[in-house]
Subunit: 365 residues, 4 copies
């Protein structure tokens, strides 16, 4: 089945393998008249680019985005926006055991099981480069949201067991350290931990959090296309994400109703909540509070240790994954989480415009 | 937007409010020739029925399912299967403050924000009765899966902070206690805790786990309709679910790659994994191991305590939610989680049938 | 695959076989706040009811619509609207040869070919009763459109070779004759022809035309979900329709560009066209002129003559279809064409609301 | 709304404006293992290329297709196939009145009405170049179908009032004349007629027919995604198509049931029909006979005569469309009709694979 399309009204289709000619995305359904330049997209792509710190691969990938359609005289035209990034490094080389072996923790085995064979060069479609299309589209969605007063901020909440308590968040620090953590001193601790990981030929996971402010109440389409359900799908579809939670999330399983309910109050004609245990949604629709969503990211599966595995012919063997690999994928995935959240929200905001008959009457009469 | 449809090939559409005439579901795309009776559906519905233990509401709801179409001479006909359950209790009564107030933790406020007004009788479409359609359809999906050798088992893993360690699981106990816990002694502890909650006019959350065995490798459609992404959406769309994780889930954020990767090995021509940290998926496709997915459920928001809130006119007030309410929603939600997992899987199994050209050739030539 | 759902934002799912318990439809995505009663739907259903003239079957089917959900205090609630019509006549009787033979011109053979067996009682899902769900939903869509100033008028343009020239149209006559023709004298001629058909144990086809006025310019979503493309699909999906055309349609194949182009002119600040060869669309979007669409309907396949056919076991035989059958299906299909047009248009009107960034800004800021 | 995606399982998304950087398509859901080369696609693109006869524009467009992803070692990999064709001629030039005027018969006015502005260079997204993506994808679908024994043949049935009677068809002639007509002598007559048109600064329409052989019975998903309904949508979505019919089409409106029904007979264990008035479908599913579908194409709207129109400011004016334009669009649209038919059929063939429980059991057990 065609699984590379996401969204209904604001719809994206990504394509491309890591060592093919290029990767890209088609963004369809973006409203006409949004100012958009290649630079808008480049800024987002740069946030996921490798080679930014000592914990990201040193490969040099320029990742220059080219807008091929859908923008006319600096504004979106209402037609599909096609964005392409050429792959720099397509040389044939020796893929050695990767070609015929299944790397533990990777999608090698399942790709073969599904399709009968796979593009073994650097992971093909299951490579992290697949996210370039998501991020390029996310940049467009985020720009759309920004004009509506909606702002997304994603960051690294924890790396391994180093978790920043909410009361020590300093969102201004996020862009000051290469781990995108909202606290420079925790980022320092995490750096030390990651160097230890590298020394041990090991890798680490972490948690990414995304806060979205400025969402009006009522966004989300019960009962299946709820805001939290759609966000979960979008974020869980990112490689390496193994869990998603909103608001108190798994903590709410261990809470009492008297502590979990957010009391409403009214002030200056505006309805607000005393707390935000719900993480900004009630009944799957935004409640006017910030939406807080978190993603659990597993450790990079590529580690320089010898691991037990099998060949595609079903023979037992061992493999040592060589090459340069990030000891942690979390910092580079921050912008991917933000992008998936932006795409989801743009789609649901558009869907919400026809939720009341009075809206149609105001629009058409 | 139309948010009441779920699935692409095996597609369901649910409808109905808690105090309207009926609730139901249309199941479209179910293959022809599956033996199906009202009893198959009734068995599933009975698992979510109230009045089964002292922790579920004593309301008497017969919830008799009527199959209105799509089944001919005891087998599905390939046409839409319409299932309806009449609501028993539609008397007009005094809804008191609920009509004009927003209950904390409920969808009252967001429904008003989105649609301009709401069916205030018992929660309307945001009531737990909405899940009847999901479960009736889930019964059909589970029956389909069973014939393919795929089995789903969902149960209560924890209530409040009473969590059953995996090594103490006894799946045969699940149907022996009214909390659907796979360990009767933990169920006893949880019962004591819930009685305490009721005494304190409070409520509790918990964690539901679903294990699916017998799934062949390769199910799931990268990069957006991955098995784990689709399961997350389906389960997160259930009211009160605040988090979803697969395999090690949030624990994997705190793990090392060397512990997180599942080694492959071959034995008797079959490829297996030494462990199942991944929870049965790699790259968003099933890897042949059991799929393990967990849902965090928040405490029942209806508690008999006075809570701060506002009226729909924006005036501050207090509310005490009266009536009989479950102190915990978890046991009744177990079959809902299982149903959403079954529906998701049935859909993706059908999608997978056209993943290779050789499959089409074998089918059509 | 699930083929019983139509539309994206205004989405319907129909269900039911002719001799099952009931037929019905779930209408999802209808905006909240539209006044709606059972009577609104009944008026539409009555237009497709048999027993209205001597050319429609004398079966007595009350076809009483019951609204089961989605309407609260006389207005749509934004939730799915479930409408059901119980089948009156479910007695088991002798279906004779129909059970094991393939009636020429019917879907008996193809249903068996696809699903392996079929509900042979009265055509099952391929019966004309399937359209009850379409018409019930069409009534809701037409009510929505009416509030936006959009009006649909469908009628019988021709029966057999008796075609009413456009200059002799009298739309007020449509409800005055049982053939729904916009000219009573042509209706009289058609009646004589149909009586001749009946005498000869034969049947006739015809052409249905639908005019839609009041559509603002710009409705339709290039390049695949164009207004004319979507209308074509909806109308061609009606049983017995074999052709669809818009504006000059097949005549335009035989026209010169100099006659086919509609000149624009401006008057009182309003842009109009001198003619309407295009039938109200340009580039697949409405151009502000009336949309004119036509459907070719084949003769009723059930005729009382002996016809050559085969049994389901592949043996050659003959069949004479007994029972009361309309000698022409066209008049009863008029409201079905109108309904499919209304559903298509409601969906595309909602989609159009997010076509410009300025619309989103006006809505959300 | 996103209208540039077509299909459910075999899904394509086209993009690109006539004078932007490039045009292209992403083909998602193509089964893995189909041999595919750039040459396969090029052969199809060459059939729609201008400059092939004296009736097509003399513009030189190389239209070289580049496959950017989804093919590995000569075979489709199950991942999205991205195909791009660079636009050769992007020079800025004087678009004169076209920029501010609405050309009669074109989409200029409706694009402005919908999106607020438009890419006026050569028609932008409403240009015939938009079909390059359809044809590139159609080549892939046709290759898939060919391996299943399904063959599509499209050709020009009529130009203006020069129609080839079915009994004079010579399908081998289709590639022998530049009008793609299945009879060289009629093609000669049509050429004379078209030269007359050019002399008169006028243009002509025509009818395209597509025959599809080798389709097994049962393809199509009632009641909305019927084979004929889906084909109609796909073909009607092509610019300039104003009507679609299947089998006898509009002629069946004027036929008697006794002539319109196709008798079944059995021979050598195979069920066939004595005639094919139905055009290969019954109840919206293929009946095993050839599918015959026709499209009415309007005359090219660009003619060198002065035409009445308005400016975007709403002032009355006249326009003479200059530049080289085909006096007839039909021959170049032949391959586009064939492509849309191939895409539709590939999608429905894949959907059909899960129509019976026995198919799932055979596949998975």
């Amino acid at each position: 089945m065609a699984g590379s399309t996401y969204g209904t009204l604001f719809k994206i289709t990504t394509w491309g393998e890591s060592h093919g000619a290029a990767v890209g995305v088609v963004i369809d359904g973006c409203p006409a008249g949004l100012p958009l330049s290649g630079e808008d997209i480049q800024l987002y792509l740069d946030r996921r680019r490798p080679g930014q710190s000592r914990f990201t691969t040193a490969r040099q990938e320029a990742d220059r985005a080219e807008i091929l359609s859908g923008v006319f005289e600096g504004k979106t035209a209402g037609t599909p926006i096609s964005v392409m990034v050429r792959n720099q490094d397509q040389r044939s080389r020796d893929y050695g055991k990767i070609k015929d072996c299944y790397r533990p923790g990777h999608a090698d085995y399942t790709f073969d099981a599904k399709y009968g064979f796979r593009d073994y060069r650097g992971g093909g479609r299951s490579s992290g480069r697949e996210t370039i299309g998501r991020v390029a589209a996310g940049a467009v969605a985020a720009k759309l949201l920004e004009r509506l007063g909606i702002k997304l901020t994603a960051y690294t909440r924890s790396i391994g067991n180093i978790t920043i308590p909410e009361e020590e968040y300093d969102l201004s620090a996020v862009t000051e350290n290469s781990l995108y953590m909202p606290n420079n001193s925790y980022a320092e601790k995490a750096s030390v931990f990651l160097e230890e990981c590298m020394k041990n030929k090991d890798s680490s996971g972490g948690v990414i959090e995304c806060r979205i402010t400025g969402i009006p109440a009522g966004i989300g389409e019960p009962v299946f296309d709820k805001l939290d359900a759609c966000l979960s799908k979008g974020i869980m579809s990112i490689g390496a994400v193994k869990g998603v939670e909103i608001g108190d999330g798994f903590l709410s399983a261990d809470a009492l109703g008297s502590c979990s309910n957010d009391a409403f109050y009214s002030s200056d004609g505006r309805i607000s909540k005393r707390a935000n245990h719900s993480g900004g949604t009630l009944g799957g629709m935004s409640d006017g509070s910030p939406v807080i969503i978190r993603a659990a990211v597993k450790p990079t599966p590529s580690i320089a240790r010898e691991q037990e595995t099998v060949t595609s012919d079903g023979e037992n063997t061992v493999i040592t994954v060589t090459g340069r690999h990030d000891p942690v994928i979390v910092p580079r995935a921050v912008v991917v989480v933000e992008s998936m959240a932006a795409l989801t929200l743009a789609d649901l905001l558009m869907a919400n415009m026809s939720s009341r008959m009075e809206y149609l009457e105001r629009f058409y009469i």
